[in-house]
Amino acid sequence: MTEPAAGPAPLAGVFAAAERQLVICNACRYCEGYCAVFPALERRLELAAGDITHLADLCHDCRDCYTACMYAPPHEFAINLPAALSAVRGHTCDEYPPRPPWPASRRATMAVTGLAAIAVLAVLGGAAGGSGQAAAASPYRVIAYPALLVAAGLPAAWGAAVMAWSAARYWRDTGGRGLASPRVLLAALSQAATLRNLRGGGAGCAYPGDEPSAARRRLHGLVAWGFAACVASTVAAAISQDIAGDPPPYPVLSAPVLLGVAGGAGMVAGCAGLLALRRVAHTEPAREDPALARRGRALLAGLLTLAVTGLLTLVLRDTAAFAPVLAVHLAAVVACFAIAPYTKFTHAVFRFLALVRDNAEAGPAGPGRAP
């Protein structure tokens, strides 16, 4: 979808498939207690494409509604809402970022971007290589600080700009409001931080099997909080270096190292756990769009690579392996920054915006109470 739907235009593709199911869900409403999707659906009599996009991102994929659905296959209504909404999310991932400046298939785009990032890093590393004056175990022995700044900063800025662009288009298409309200923002932040919509109304997620389980929410929490801790570690390092005037390496008992280790360990455990759950998640029938499932695995593999190489640079920083491991880690960082806006990483942005909109719509009474 590239334009906001004007009026109740006929829907096609993933939107038509989702709409067919959502209309039945809105006439049933048994799943109202599981998550925010159903109360949000009940506030709507007609569904435009933007509404369906919004509902799809509000869905946190707990799959309780599938397990509870008497209309799930083999029933002739063939309701499989987790799969239908995940297909819409895949479409959102595809359609909201601007076209990349190079003409290529998505897979080629990923490969080219990744390789280019690695090449950039290699060139910068070779031309502006590390200084023998930097302390042992300092990254600046491998790559000079300005080179590192350019190598990581450029793709980071690019990634952030593209995601901001995608977010703005998404916000326009889903007709959102409420970004300016502290109440709404706080509520959305708290729901995102606790993954409230993966609680299944207290029942947990029907994932990876049909039995209720908290594994998904806990592991996802590890990944998200681990990622946040890694970002905080970088910020702490920047503060130590540029404000406190204390160059790396930092001792084990310092904010950058402790945050980095905790965050990295959380990401490793979370990503590995989620990948393991994916291997045993239900397949009969699949409750996720296969294309989005591939992107989910790719995101987890990417984050896992980042976390593992990051931890290794710390563990090996006093050994001869430090330089090559750091190079690999930096290459991974650069590549991930560059391609992030074209991966499932964006789901964090879209889902947060969906939570903001939902809290704005639901009013102070909170989700579950349609007006």
Binding site: I24, T67, A68
Partner: protein
């Protein structure tokens, strides 16, 4: 187990009553309990899949049922539907025992949620379980499995092998002979057996839509009658609601139900009104409309409303027809445009102005119109106009087997079928006559599932 060694308790039917009976039998000391589920695992639970709440006595409110619902009030509500309770003693027993049902359900894995949006007026009396009936069935299966109940899917019980006045084994459609010390029949009504319905309803039965699975054909009920079980309940007793005429013949469930009636006028194929659409609060009246429509020509009726009230009820899954005028709605529904326009104009003229309030009996009524509309009467005058064709949607039949207070199946000669017990819809005719009270089917199933399960365990282990 070795071939031929009998199960302590065999439960026929994997809906609410059967699951409750199986779990209870296990807890009451039956060591080997087998539940026969006719459906494959993906469709297990029968009509229970389509339920969503349970109506029980509670003397105080809580977060899920705000406000008390004392014994006397539930009893009055039960007496006010149809011809009242069939057997006052068993009905009173059911109402009395209903008070312990929610706590029992909670203790066996059921979670609750606040009353669903759009279910006007049900919040105080009825308790909604999280996720609806299939979630309830899933939770009970988990509990049953943990308790050691064996479950056999795709197992259609269709007869019993008797030794004297005691059932020795359950016989399945696949030719299995399953020996049992005690048997609980929780196999539901016969609403999906159109041929059986035709005996009492004639050709009209061909126009009935069945809200639950096509497998509810009553073959165990027929087997029990053959064995001399006494009948309980009326031949034409059933719970039927107005559902979209476009619904599937079987298993359309809740999504096909129409709640537009109190905010609309309802006409027959001649375009004429035939009953007071605003007689009482919808949860007390929705269950009469299936029967009302079953009594109309062609077993079809049409609900017509305007844009003022379009958001006041659950949106129909197939969507209404819409037109800029009433005649357009009539044409889209295949009705005589002149007849419908005349009916609506006459109704509009009869509406007495008042303060419309969908949340209570608002007294907005018609004057000098027959039949009257007693509440929520507003002129139908704001385009676009909407309409939907409705048919009777049969939820379950009441006619079943007579039981004792211990859920033993009573025979026509006044004895009992030894070790055979019944719970749920198959014995609901002991309690319900011709009317229905929303959420009470689950109450009957849970109360009598517990009674039958415990009694069967006693029978098997004594």
């Amino acid at each position: 187990m070795t071939a031929g060694e009998p199960w302590d308790v065999v439960v026929i039917g994997g809906g609410n009553a059967g699951l409750v009976a199986a779990i209870t039998a296990r807890e009451a000391g039956a060591s080997r309990v087998l539940l026969l589920e006719r459906a494959p695992a993906a469709l297990r639970g029968g009509n229970t899949r389509h339920t969503r709440n349970v109506r029980c006595v509670h003397d105080t409110g809580d977060q899920y049922t705000p406000g008390a619902y004392p014994y006397d009030e539930l009893w009055r509500d039960l007496c006010a539907v149809g011809d009242g309770p069939s057997d006052e003693r068993l009905a009173a027993h059911t109402v009395r025992l209903s008070e312990s049902v929610p706590a029992w359900m909670s203790a066996h894995g059921i979670r609750w949620q606040p009353p669903l949006t759009g279910t006007l007026h049900l919040g105080r009396t009825n308790r909604f379980f999280l996720g609806g009936g299939k979630a309830l069935v899933n939770a009970y299966h988990r509990t049953a499995e943990a308790a050691g109940v064996a479950v056999r899917y795709d197992a259609t019980a269709q007869n019993m092998d008797f030794a004297g006045d005691r059932c020795a084994a359950v016989l399945t459609a696949d030719g299995d002979r399953i020996p049992a010390r005690a048997v609980v029949c929780a196999s539901g009504g016969f609403e999906a057996n159109i041929g059986w319905l035709r005996r009492y309803w004639g050709d009209a039965a061909d126009n009935f839509l069945i809200r639950g699975p096509a497998t509810n054909d009553g073959r165990m009920l027929a087997a029990l009658y053959c064995r001399g079980a006494a009948r309980a309940g009326q031949e034409r007793g059933f719970h039927a609601v107005a559902i979209d005429a476009r619904s599937p013949r079987f298993d359309g469930g809740i999504a096909t139900r129409l709640d537009s009636i109190p905010f609309s006028v309802v006409v027959n194929t001649s375009g004429e009104r035939f009953y007071d659409e605003g007689e009482d609060l919808w949860p007390k009246r929705y269950a009469i409309w299936g029967r009302l429509i079953a009594g109309q020509d062609g077993q079809i009726a049409y609900s017509v409303w305007d844009s003022k009230v379009n958001r006041l009820f659950l949106p129909p899954m197939y969507g209404p027809v819409a037109a800029p005028d009433v005649a357009g709605v009539a044409r889209a529904l295949g009705l005589d445009p002149h007849a419908l326009a005349t009916t609506v104009a006459r109704y509009n003229k009869a509406v007495v102005p008042g303060a419309f309030d969908p949340s209570r009996l608002d007294g907005c009524r018609t004057d000098g119109l027959s039949p009257a509309k007693s509440n929520w009467a507003q002129p139908i005058d704001t385009p676009p106009f909407y309409g939907i064709a409705m048919r009777p949607g049969i939820t379950f039949t009441f006619m079943g087997v007579r039981v004792t207070e211990e859920a033993r199946v009573v025979t026509v000669d006044g004895g009992t079928l030894g070790n055979v017990f019944a719970a749920g819809e198959i014995m609901s005719g002991n309690i319900l006559s011709s009317g229905y009270l929303g959420g009470f089917g689950l109450t009957i199933g849970t109360v009598w599932g517990r009674i039958a399960g415990a009694a069967a365990a006693r029978e098997a282990t004594r």
